[in-house]
């Protein structure tokens, strides 16, 4: 959390702080890109602005979030067992939600403000909304048919210029299914065919006609990178580079050399205003964002030895790796990851589907979690698994306990709440039930570490987004309307749509 404490401010502000090494006109005029420089106090600032779209800094957020949040009411969730996501377990707890934020969390003595609706959670469990750091919902949607497969721009090993949000189909029924499993925030990533797959986007899991309506305000972008078998198989199979692990590394380094030069040119031009401005390049712009810290590295990387190489590349070029995804062998370098402050985003049960997934162990998360300063995350990469991240975490917890590790449930729940928030740079906004954070809350029918637990109600920013008992809060995407089985109840049990 400490490591990401600075990452929560809005992207626009962040971009200004980080991209502008000196006081720059662009930051003062974000959103008014055609206006002249701010005060004309120097030659540099007095120069003509670039034509619209040619200066990143003039409009660093060109696809801004229009997320508004669902209608909400102030409430007090009382009587449940609360896992706050930050390590606390409170029996008979009280969670106060005011204006879409967590106002207070405490035991039964916590006062309920007047006017707050009381939600009875006796016999039930209350957790933060689940965060899935690795999803392809919307970019590899259901149906996964020809014409809908938009997750891998597998045309060049470096496609840092593409953004997953431009492939995201908000009508993917998988979003609704994930919400019924308690998922309130997801990072939608491009696939792993390329060394640089493109930017991911963090979304609030609310139904929306547009991508922008889901996009999480202020969440930093991630850049999907991929180690290992996938890029070398895809491009080696075409007899182009990279065909090997060493080809992969040469590709990363060449890209960051170019990005350093690109950034230096822009920095110099902003600094002295001499000569022609550099030509804007979307690919290098994203990589330069990595170098200035505004874009977080989300690195698909299975093997421990490859993680160590990636860490050295980051040091060579002066950037940070935020998370290794799939991280099958993270347990082999758990102390290293903790020292470097890198999250390991993992499965519990997936293994053996390829060589780099051979050494998977179910106790991976438990072993990664053990060192001081660690950041263990359970993720899905799968439209089915994302609906049951609580069960995957239970399996990971059981594996740790089986080897004698003493891990509490209130600790393990952080693997799908606070730690994924850290892994996305949004831990100051969500991921735990702590005063001031977004009121992303799940009320479970039973202990979420039980296979029988169902998400009864799911609140996003304090708004009821799903209610297992009330069909009015079980949204259906446009795609689901009128399809076979539509309108028929499959069995006489309280349920979500699917």
């Amino acid at each position: 959390m400490r490591l990401h404490a600075l990452r929560g401010s809005s992207l626009a502000v962040l971009a200004c702080v980080l991209a502008g090494s000196l006081a720059l006109s662009a930051c003062a005029t974000t959103g008014g890109e055609d206006k002249p420089a701010a005060d004309g106090s120097s030659d540099v600032e007095a120069r003509q602005p670039l034509a619209r779209g040619l200066d990143y800094a003039a409009n660093p957020d060109p696809f801004p979030s229009t997320y508004r949040g669902l209608p909400r009411e102030n409430m007090a969730i009382v009587g449940g067992t609360v896992f706050d996501g930050a390590g606390r377990k409170i029996e008979n707890g009280v969670v106060i939600v005011t204006d879409g934020k967590v106002a207070a969390v405490g035991d039964a003595s916590t006062p309920v403000p007047g006017g707050h609706r009381v939600v009875d959670a006796r016999g039930r469990f209350v957790t933060p909304g689940i965060i899935d750091v690795h999803s392809h919902l919307g970019v590899y949607p259901s149906p996964g048919v020809s014409g809908m497969s938009d997750g891998n721009e597998a045309t060049n090993p470096n496609t840092a210029q593409v953004w997953a949000e431009h492939s995201l189909w908000p009508q993917d029924p998988g979003f609704n299914a994930a919400r019924a499993g308690g998922v309130t925030t997801l990072q939608i990533l491009p696939g792993s065919a390329n060394l640089f797959g493109g930017r991911g986007v963090t979304v609030r899991n609310v139904p929306s006609v547009t991508m922008q309506g889901m996009k999480m305000p202020g969440a930093p972008y991630g850049l999907k990178m991929a180690c290992g078998e996938n890029p070398s198989r895809v491009y080696g199979g075409r007899n182009t580079s990279p065909a090997t692990g060493m080809g992969n590394v040469a590709g990363y380094r060449a890209a960051f050399i170019a990005a350093r030069e690109y950034k230096a040119k822009w920095d110099k031009w902003r600094d002295d205003g001499e000569g022609s401005p550099p030509t804007r390049n979307l690919q290098l712009e994203t990589l330069a964002g990595v170098l200035d810290g505004s874009v977080l590295i989300q690195n698909h990387c299975y093997r421990a030895d490859e993680m160590a190489v990636m860490i050295d590349i980051a040091k060579e070029f002066g950037y940070r790796i935020t998370a290794f995804h799939h991280a099958i062998e993270a347990y082999k370098v758990a102390p290293l990851l903790a020292r470097e402050g890198i999250c390991a985003d993992m499965w519990a049960g997936w293994w053996g589907f390829k060589m780099e997934a051979l050494d998977a162990v179910e106790a991976n998360a438990a072993l990664v979690d053990a060192p001081q300063g660690s950041c263990a995350v359970i993720h899905s990469d799968d439209a089915e698994l994302t609906q049951r991240l609580n069960q995957e975490t239970a399996a990971a917890l059981a594996a740790g306990r089986r080897m004698g590790m003493n891990i509490s449930e209130e600790r393990a729940i952080s693997w799908i709440t606070l730690n994924p928030a850290r892994s996305l740079g949004i831990a100051d906004q969500t991921g735990s039930l702590e005063a001031g954070k977004r009121a992303d809350v799940v009320i479970w029918s039973a202990n979420p570490f039980s296979v029988y637990a169902r998400a009864d109600q799911v609140f996003i920013d304090g708004g009821l987004s799903f209610d297992r008992m009330n069909p009015a809060y079980q949204p259906l995407s446009d795609y689901e309307l009128g399809q076979p089985g539509f309108g028929l109840s499959a069995a006489n049990v309280p349920q979500g749509a699917r």
Partner: protein
């Protein structure tokens, strides 16, 4: 020292699986016993000579080794259906995959039992998930359940889930295995034929469903012609047939209804057509997949056809699964259909998730007892092994697992595992790796020096 430990360990492992050990009289007492069809509180399960001797509430027989299962749950070993255990080691490494076959002269006659590897490292992992038997099937398009994408891996591989392995309508023949340590895991070969229908099957036939049904009928006609005229066939006195002799031979028991045909099919409309085809041709079918089965549950039960299903399939991943629901298992069971619950991703590496899938079916309306049946007695029944395994009752194979709690819960652990009466070492390659890095792997000696 290390060598001596190794030898001791080997001796120990051998003892655990030796026939002598399997023959010893053992009583598991005090647990909550799930027999497969009922529950006995504070029950006693007695095993000897590889079989269950008795299941009840009596005291342990004198002289028996007693395993105290108080506070624990005792259950039959689970049976993985639609599985690749022992037939595929690492999915992406073709040479280690003996589950699929591309030769066009060996399709129906393809027999997975020859490729089974008792030393497969997938077996101990599945075993720790409570799996003690498996129905190993040839891989086939449209099958598997529980998709795995690895960030869209399948997408750039050039084939989707309906990628075709063989030009024939038939993928080959399934086998039953047990998962005990030892040198032979085969229980029974050639227990069922496998054929994909729906989009995948249509793709084999040329693209349209109508073509596949026509080709299927024509193939059975050829099989029957061959069966009636083998002598003429052998002296080349029969018209040309579209299958090899081996395939024709393998299909005779399918054509005469004695060997079940596992039909992978998803769409309700296709299920109806398959049921009609089975009726018209006298073929005995087992439906596999059947995601939209709940829409035609009455027709499935009327046909007396069992279903292998994955209850967590709830997303309309293609246009033949648009009506998928988590409640499919509950609806089919309530209608009276015999169901078996599958594991994930072809039940090889993730066969151990079979029990979680059963648990999720329960949380979506399937009675608990029915969920247990769907991973124990029902698979045995569907594949003609009723009473022989998958059940704790006198005479059945002693596949017994002692669980720390409810076996459908991820937090529960399989503590003691017997297969055919032989106690299995509670370890796997994954456990060895895990233990090697227990303390972070940064000691003075590299992890490679630890065993």
């Amino acid at each position: 020292m290390r060598l001596r430990n190794l030898i001791l360990g080997a001796v120990c492992a051998a003892a655990l699986t030796s026939p002598a050990f399997a023959q010893s009289l053992t009583a598991i007492t005090g647990g909550r016993v799930l027999t497969g069809t009922s529950v006995i509180e504070n029950g006693t399960v007695v095993i000897q000579n590889g079989r269950v001797v008795s299941v009840g509430t009596g005291a342990a027989p004198s002289g028996a080794r007693v395993i105290d299962a108080r506070g624990k749950v005792v259950a039959p070993g689970f049976v993985a259906v639609d599985s690749g255990l022992g037939a595929s080691e690492i999915s992406s490494v073709g040479g280690s995959d003996d589950q699929s076959n591309g030769a066009n002269s060996i399709s129906a006659s393809f027999d997975v039992s020859y490729g089974l590897d008792p030393w497969s490292f997938t077996l101990p992992v599945a075993r720790l998930g409570g799996i003690t038997r498996a129905i190993v099937v040839p891989s086939h398009p449209g099958g598997g359940g529980g998709n795995h994408r690895d960030d869209g891996d399948a997408d750039f591989a050039g084939v989707g889930s309906a990628g075709l392995q063989a030009p024939s309508l038939f993928a080959g023949q399934a086998a039953i295995i047990h998962l005990a340590q030892g040198t032979d895991i085969l229980v029974k070969p050639r227990v069922a034929m496998v054929a994909p229908f729906g989009e995948a099957g249509a793709g084999v036939a040329g693209g349209a469903r109508g073509a596949e049904f026509t080709q299927f009928k024509e193939t059975l006609a050829e099989v029957r012609l061959y069966a009636r005229n083998k002598a003429a066939y052998d002296r080349a006195g029969l018209r040309d047939l579209s299958l090899s002799r081996a395939d024709l031979e393998a299909l005779i028991p399918v054509a005469n209804g004695s060997l079940p045909l596992i039909v992978t099919v998803h769409r309700a409309a296709d299920i109806q057509q398959v049921l009609r085809l089975a009726r018209e041709e006298g073929v005995k079918v087992i439906l596999d997949g059947a995601e939209e089965g709940w829409l035609v549950a009455d027709q499935i039960v009327a046909a007396g056809v069992p279903v292998l299903l994955n209850p967590i399939s709830n997303l309309p991943g293609d246009l033949e699964t648009r009506a998928v629901r988590m409640q499919n298992a509950a609806v089919l069971d309530a209608a009276g259909v015999v169901i078996a619950i599958k594991g994930n991703e072809g039940s090889i590496h993730r066969a151990r998730e079979t029990r979680y899938n059963a648990g999720n079916a329960v949380s979506h309306g399937l009675p608990y007892g029915a969920a247990i049946e769907a991973i124990t007695v029902n698979p045995a029944k569907i594949f003609g092994m009723a009473g022989q395994f998958g059940e704790l009752r006198a005479g059945a194979a002693a596949d017994v697992v002692v669980w720390s709690g409810d076996p459908l819960e991820p937090l529960s652990i399989a503590e003691t595992i017997f297969i055919g009466g032989a106690e299995q070492a509670p370890t796997s390659r994954q456990f060895l790796l895990r233990d090697r890095y227990r303390d972070g792997g940064e000691g003075a000696m590299p992890p490679a020096y630890s065993r």
